[in-house]
Amino acid sequence: MNANRTPQQLTRYLQTLEASLADAPTSARHEILADVQAHADDALEQGRTIDKVLAALGPVQEHAAQYRSELGLPAEPPIDSRRASTILHGAAVILGILTGCFVAFLMLFSGSPFEPPRSHVNDLMMKTLVGLHGLGLALFAFIPALLAVLSLVLPQKARMPVAVANAGSSRQSRSPRSACSMCRLRC
């Protein structure tokens, strides 16, 4: 295994831990994440599997609860913008996919306004937008869905530009407030 590459499970573990400690002082949170990351990197280097490493650290929620108790934080983090933004992200993805399907469906069966109607029945398919421009055209309908998914799967650092593009591309379907809480992931 390449020791320089962080396994996805570890990344997810760290992200969950970070989110569960969102209300901890920033410096403490950074040190916690650095500690756990360093522990895992060292353990992986010594030949342990990532499953064993994470099992020894314990379930992430339990681990986070221990941190909260040791740092004197309330047992439950206050409902924060992260959870809300995750729900909004999910809604945006679903909405994007549904809209994409609908628009693609219209492209399959509706004609181009720029083409004069032909009389021949066999030309019916040729007259539709997809018939004229190829199936690839329908993929454009899924761009908003793709943007919404990207902002969920990209690493934190790369999310900002996508979040901005996202806010622009789907302004009609979501309120400005939702775009704002999305940005707070980084702000």
């Binding site: 403490a28 040190e31 916690i32 650095a34 500690d35 756990v36 360093a38 522990h39 990197d41 060292d42 353990a43 280097e45 010594q46 020894a56 650290l57 314990g58 339990e62 681990h63 221990q66 941190y67 108790s69 040791e70 740092l71």
Partner: protein, 112 residues
Amino acid sequence: MEPARERIATNIRKGVLEYCVLSLLSQREMYGLELANSLVVRGLTASEGSLYPLLARMREAGAVETRWESPENGRARRYYAITSNGTALLEVFAEVWGDIAAQVDELLKEQA
């Protein structure tokens, strides 16, 4: 009796883990995994997950301090070291532990 044994051990370890960490660090500086391994080998902690939250609190309380060491080849590591504050705490613990352990031993001897 296994569950009872596990529960008793967990409770006692919880109370002394902090001072076991201080004791290990009073011998020399250690990085996270090194500390975790030493504790697990001695059976002083069952879960590595409880070590790091504890270290976070000890750092906040000023019983330990950390420093990064970046070797020329290899990854940078954070080393934990005991502070004078931590040393004083460890001395107090040693006294308390000595008293309690002696009393408990005596009690168990009487019972036997």
